[in-house]
């Protein structure tokens, strides 16, 4: 799956999302549930704002010294007998991984969950050379079995499917004959996957955090699948986004705790798997051959820009779970494997404005995302920055909007024009007004009045009332008890 999903226009995708009542129910339920658990988990930790500042500090420090830590990481991986490949593009990463896989004559690859491998479309690239690729994270497995349905959430990729839908997929594709009970479904997947772990030639993982000081990798799962992916196959390839590192285990501990609390409201996940290089002489398991692929794919272009803070992201999806827009449109509406607020910021940076120019506007700038981000990425401010770039540098804003805003600039900045405009407003709006409200407005009001009433402009503006009152005239005070009114 490449980063971009589908070829439909933004409006069509949103329409589809809005009409998918099951998905919306599942998303709203998950948001409410995870949101409440997250609050409990951070409350239990105490001093959450201090933790956030610390998390931000760690991530900012790493980004400021990324070259240093990447070098340290590479050296330490090499010292432990691992191979390091730095891929500037998705193609370079895929080519390297393909070469490794082919050099092993590998027929089967098992994978633990990794968004960066989705981003570079690794599975398709391996399948092209005849390799069978099996996702072992339950959510990813379901999607893969369902003809590569794209993920709709960065942590819970199959959030948009219910258990009945999963049963149907398993029945159709895997000959499953049991019920829609999640335990039975999970058992079935587990039985299928167990064979795959045992017969796979190569294990591929993502990377939650790399530890520069030791050349280690941490993988956070609740299913233990990463343990099997990294201990059974003879060859392991770890693919990481180039920014996903911490200096030492001390920072790892801080960030893992913040990650799981923010992602699912857990103190700790069921498994935190930390691996350092290939198997050594006295080790009882682990890969004989280890490869680290560090993926840039547009990240270094974000460094040093006003968008740098987006690279602080630890992929917890707390912003996705708090987003009122995601709540109603679901992940596929974003047209990118990165959905929600983080996706709306990141996708245009990695994939360009042409495909993702609507995403920065799919936000009310309500700030819920920035409020929950454990590493304090000012997500709503970055969405606003995107809008500014789209308007001022990219020139991708609609002409009608540009004219309107130009007029706004003139009108708002000139008290005379403003006063004149607001004074004639009631008359101008008269044809559209009945009983003090506008039910079918012209121009930009059309979209508003399709679903809501718009108030008719006051016949006497507040400023006139105030002026008259200062002169000792004007209308009398409204009777306070009678001020109840509809907006």
């Amino acid at each position: 799956m490449p980063m971009k999903i589908g070829n439909e226009r933004f409006g069509e995708r949103v329409e589809k999302g809005i009409n998918n009542s099951f998905m919306r129910g599942a998303v709203a339920g998950a948001q409410d549930n995870i949101g409440a658990r997250r609050l409990n988990a951070i409350e239990e930790l105490g001093n959450w704002e201090e933790w956030r500042s610390h998390g931000e500090e760690i991530r900012q420090h790493v980004l400021e010294h990324l070259d240093y830590y990447l070098e340290q990481l590479s050296d330490n991986v090499a010292k432990r007998g691992g191979n390091v490949f730095f891929a500037e593009t998705a193609e370079e990463a895929n080519e390297y991984i393909k070469e490794v896989v082919q050099s092993k004559n590998a027929q089967k690859v098992v994978k633990s969950k990794s968004m960066v491998t989705e981003e570079i479309n690794l599975n398709a690239s391996l399948e092209e050379v005849g390799c069978q690729v099996i996702e072992t994270d339950l959510g990813e497995y379901i999607l893969q079995v369902d003809d590569h349905d794209p993920p709709s959430h960065i942590v819970a990729p199959a959030l948009h499917k219910n258990k009945e839908q999963v049963r149907d997929v398993f029945t159709k594709k895997l000959g499953y004959k049991k019920s829609a009970d999640p335990t039975e479904l999970a058992w079935h997947a587990r039985e299928m996957l167990r064979q795959d772990y045992l017969t796979a030639d190569v294990g591929i993982t993502g990377c939650n955090f790399a530890v520069a000081e030791t050349g280690s990798f941490a993988l956070v799962t609740n299913e233990g699948n990463a343990d099997l992916v990294t201990s059974l196959p003879k060859t392991q390839i770890t693919v990481m986004g180039m920014e996903r590192l911490v200096p030492t285990f001390e920072e790892l501990e801080v960030l893992v705790s913040m990650l799981t609390r923010s992602a699912v409201g857990q103190k700790l996940p069921s498994y935190v798997t930390v691996l350092t290089g290939p198997r050594e002489e006295l080790d009882v398991d682990g890969p004989e051959d280890f490869h680290l692929v560090i993926v840039d794919n547009g990240r270094s272009k974000i460094l040093g820009t006003e968008f740098q803070s987006v690279l602080q992201c630890i992929r917890c999806a707390a912003c996705v779970n708090a987003c009122p827009v995601y709540r109603h449109v679901g992940g596929h509406s974003y047209g990118s494997i990165y959905s929600g607020p983080i996706g709306a910021v990141l996708s245009p940076l990695l994939g360009g404005y042409e495909d993702y120019k609507e995403l920065p506007y799919a936000s009310t700038l309500c700030g819920a995302c920035s409020e929950v981000c454990p590493v304090k990425i000012p997500l709503h401010e970055l969405l606003h920055k995107h809008r500014q770039v789209i308007v001022e540098k990219e020139g991708k804003a609609p002409v009608s909007e540009k004219l309107l805003m130009k007029a706004f600039g003139l009108g708002a900045a000139s008290p005379t024009l403003y006063k004149w405009g607001s004074k004639i407003a009631p008359t101008a709006m008269n044809p559209f007004t009945s009983e003090d409200k506008i039910t079918k407005g012209p121009g930009p009001l059309k979209a508003w009045t399709e679903v809501r009433d718009f108030p008719a402009p006051n016949k006497e503006r507040f400023r006139d009332w105030f002026k008259n009152r200062e002169k000792g005239g004007g209308t009398s005070w409204p009777e306070p008890s009678k001020t109840e009114k509809h907006f």
Binding site: A368, W448, D453, F487
Partner: protein, 238 residues
């Protein structure tokens, strides 16, 4: 105490009763109100849409208009926040950044001003009925005013208060978002209205004319018997 009122364009043009209630309330609390007639829009609609250059002239105009003020009070959390945002817009500008900082330091949202500056919790308001309160996003998250409206409402005689389910969720206004992303905005405001209905409240109260226009516009369109009120009107009820 002399208070300079930043009424906001929505109140000036569409919700003058909110402005009137604000004036009366503040006068009752001992303030002398000044309303500079040169005030225009704070620039937020253009600014939030990415038209930063286009909004700067309006911002400068507003900074000039309110330069003389001792306290600036605004019956809208979002617009009051915008005055606080100016200092970031003019960051690095030797003339306008210091001016914008001064503006921010003396700008208060109405309920924030009553609690923090006037130090009044009970404004002597009285209104019989069951009410719920919509916490607007910019006021709560960006301006950081959370408790002031709740404290003031809790002292309104006769008012029974019910918390709004999902109160942290945006109502779907978002300025130009409401027309630019109308289909999404509709879903958001619908959920908000459903939540309001669940409370069985007669009144839904808010401190931002934008959110109230959105929620109220939808409630009116659906013909629901819920009154949508600005907090200034509630606090001015006697």
């Amino acid at each position: 105490m002399k208070v300079t009122l930043f009424a906001t364009c929505l109140v000036d043009m569409f919700q003058s009763d909110v402005g009137k209630a604000t004036v009366e309330l503040l006068e009752r609390l001992g303030c002398e109100i000044d309303f500079p007639q040169t005030q225009v829009c704070c620039g937020q609609p253009a600014y939030n849409s990415g038209y930063v250059k286009e909004s700067k002239d309006a911002m400068k105009k507003m900074i000039g208009t309110f330069e003389h003020a001792e306290y600036i009070v605004c019956p809208s959390g979002s617009c009051a926040y915008m005055f606080h945002e100016y200092q970031h817009v003019f960051k690095g500008d030797p003339i306008w950044e210091p001016k914008a900082k001064k503006l921010a330091a003396k700008t208060y949202e109405l309920t924030q001003f009553i609690i923090e500056v006037l130090k009044v919790e009970n404004v002597g308001a009285c209104l019989e009925g069951k009410a719920t309160y919509h916490t607007s996003c910019h006021m709560t998250r960006l301006l950081g005013v959370q408790k002031a409206p709740m404290t003031l409402l809790s002292k309104v005689k006769g008012l029974e208060f019910v918390e709004l389910p999902g109160k942290e969720q945006c109502c779907g206004f978002g300025g130009t978002f409401s027309v630019k992303m109308a289909q999404i905005s509709e879903q958001m405001v619908d959920e908000k209205v459903r939540h309001v209905e669940e409370t069985d409240a007669e009144y839904v109260i808010g401190a931002d004319a934008g959110c109230l226009m959105n929620i109220g516009g939808r409630i009116n369109r659906q013909g629901k018997p819920i009154k949508v009120m600005h907090i200034a009107e509630i606090l001015n009820s006697r």
